[in-house]
Symmetry: C3
Subunit: 334 residues, 3 copies
């Protein structure tokens, strides 16, 4: 493995290897595996879990990391090609990324969706451009339409909880004051489909996921024996579900149109996830969310504070999952 951009780039055996290594590292520390290795972490957007857990992962393996956040003591970076740089950005990524590639053994990059042009975001143009400039192993710390660290950690959480490989996972849209990226929904439906699950996307009609995201998940499902469907019917979706994965995202139908979205959301205030959503689900059904989560907007306190909620376990599994990724990328096993 020489990069970690998407679970969709890995074959099932590679994913199983990472999951096994994550569990092994959780049980048997390898505090010198990456001694002397140096990871650069380029955050073009805010973070808490990824920021903390990537640094912790590197240190737990004996390596070190350096955080770089343009706009916070670092020049703003220009991304567009061919532009006359007479604005606020002092440096172009075509210099910045190759420069950093000379200082570190691997580079993690977080680059959210711009949220303006759906096609560009679905093509993950910005992250792919940045990664292409780095002649070194690169890690996707969340791009416009993927978040493989989250997906791998979630897969481990599903395994640890004993959720059946062919169990039912419902990814439900939820309310939120802002239009959010499609990265986690895209990564989660693919991950659950690749795991062989019955994946149901529950959402208002205006929030139907873009076809390329569903197509990728369906393709994974075909290989694994899983299934992928979408619905606006909450009761049908949740009947017998093993997992309710809550998450808000932008309306693909009104992408970048903030006003229309705002009006839409005013009529969708019943999409705050409540305890009674679980009424027809499997009695042991779990609540997942990638965090950060807005309490009593996305999901009620009564769900988050109940034993159904495993959001903190998900976050903790990010650490072990990322340690496995770093171990494979930086040659710790050699």
């Amino acid at each position: 493995m020489n990069r970690f951009h998407s679970l969709a780039e890995l074959d099932p055996a590679e994913i199983r290897d990472l999951l096994a290594l994550a569990s092994r590292l959780e049980r048997n520390p390898e505090p010198q595996a990456l001694a002397g290795k140096l990871l650069g972490l380029l955050f073009l957007n805010p973070s808490l879990r990824t920021l903390a857990s990537m640094q912790a992962a590197m240190h737990r393996l004996g390596g070190t990391s350096v955080v770089l956040a343009p706009g916070q003591g670092i020049w703003q970076l220009e991304h567009r090609d061919g532009v006359v740089m007479d604005g606020s950005a002092a440096e172009h990524v075509r210099e910045a990324i190759p420069v950093l590639a000379g200082y570190f053994d691997a580079l993690g990059v977080r680059a959210f969706a711009a949220g303006v042009d759906l096609e560009a975001d679905l093509a993950d143009h910005e992250f792919r451009n940045l990664a292409s400039l780095a002649a070194m192993p690169t890690i996707n710390l969340e791009s416009a339409v993927d978040h493989p660290c989250q997906a791998l950690g979630d897969w481990k959480t599903l395994d640890n909880l004993g959720v059946p490989a062919d169990g039912k996972l419902v990814l439900s849209w939820a309310n939120h004051p802002k239009p959010l990226p499609l990265a986690v929904p895209a990564a989660v439906v693919h991950m659950a489909a690749a795991r062989g699950m019955e994946v149901v996307v529950l959402r208002p009609d205006a929030y139907a996921l873009p076809e390329p995201i569903l197509a990728r998940a369906r393709s994974a499902a075909e290989a694994s024996g899983g299934r992928v469907s979408e619905t606006a019917d909450r009761a049908a979706a949740l009947a017998g579900a093993h997992v309710l994965y809550g998450k808000s995202w932008s309306s693909p139908a009104h992408y970048g149109d903030l006003e229309t979205e705002r009006d839409l959301r005013k009529r969708l205030t019943t999409w705050t996830i409540q305890p009674d959503w679980f009424d027809g689900a499997d009695p042991a059904a779990h609540f997942f969310h990638c965090l950060p989560v807005r309490r009593n907007v996305v999901v009620a306190d009564a769900v988050l504070d109940s034993p159904r909620s495993v959001v903190v376990r998900q976050a903790h599994n990010r650490l072990w999952a990322q340690m496995a990724v770093l171990h494979r990328l930086l040659g710790g096993s050699r």
Copy 2:
């Protein structure tokens, strides 16, 4: 010791042990004592000394630290329970802290007083709430009414300078453009009282310390043989003093009332500490301040630049004191 929240939680033998360990580590480095250990540092407020010295302390013992500062590349955190999170905070501490607890071996938290509700600040509600969410050793990096790292470093400085255990320490209020927290005054009066000193709080009447802060110090003085009093009489306070500890703080009588405070302070411009304040003090009397200090507002250049001033020594002792705390919390001696 499984947490370091306040010197007032430790018994005299535990404090003596930390001081002895701090001095031992100053003389005899233990560069591998905390090898492999990882400290998270959550700064909800600015810092220079604490930020630099906690990282240095961890590294000097062979461990590593990760700094996390919400608002600087990290989501704003919500602290209130039961709130509908439709504002600027994207994440609740009820998720953030337990998540971080899974990544680190110990967590330091800096959470200043809100400065609005005196009762809430005196109860140290926010810090206690944050610490209660972390299932791991926690360190108070300055809370609403305590700053045990400062207090422990100051105790070491008093010892190093040979200030008599039953010597006289005057904590004097000083002028400042802003109303500041009560954390350092509260920690210092308790520390000096617990050391057995004669503690005099010198302040204008509107700046009398709240009764719970004085009561805690008096209780420590009873056990140690020290004394605690308050006065607005400068000459009486400083007569024979071994230490003049300068510090500004908010008026407890007008807590959160910024306008009244501003008017009050306009009449208190003589409370800039000057060389002649030492006229009746012990000839070898020292000037202490926790830093940061505003020159020529809190204290005149002529005091800070004189041999009386030991403010830099105080700051340096923070390093050794915190190394002792980390050593005890993270099992370096085992």
Copy 3:
């Protein structure tokens, strides 16, 4: 060597020693040379390369670094002596620097020119003041009129490329939306002169370098056999040049006068470096720039993206050059 403030403070043998060590460290890693050593990095101004490469350099030698950036979670610092600190700065450098000196084994400081008073900036007053407060080895991470880390890395790049010791280096002014400091021009002309090169400063008349900068370079040239001249004649300057080093800087003739500068620059838009600038140069001539560079303002894409451009190599050599400096300062060879 107990400080690294300017190449102009080192004799030729010391510079040769650093260059040889840089190359040795590039070939033969010494991952434990600075084990246990701790470097503080005080950034009073933004950075990308220096921030990333100094941390990488320290880690590659087994040491650790701590970044401190006032204004980003750290109090604003006051620099002026004797001032009544009732403004926004909460702490004075006269406390901050000596405090930090107690936590670290060496301190790097970045302090740009204020850009108001040319005499003060030429005297490098602020950096010299900060460094004088630190009783420890200090490193100049770019001051008002010097940038020795850049200069040393550039020297190594010239050597690696086989540019003749007596080759011709043209430092050309270039257009830019803002008036920039004189630090890199001053450091580069001195470095190239000390290397024995024929240095030509190509610039519009209003951008003639200040006499003290030229005098320092001339003095180095006298010792090395190099030469230093200035001209506004592009063809003459570039005839036979081995290196075109692009860089924008403020007009010394109108220092701090932003309006006059803005008007001046409107008439200087032909000073964007283009491929045809190399027409009379040595066929193998290289393009240098310290970065960050504004594409299509300072230099055309067609130059930066051509094989002539070695800007990324320059940045990479910063790493090895700084490792040599840290190794010598922190006693790695002992």
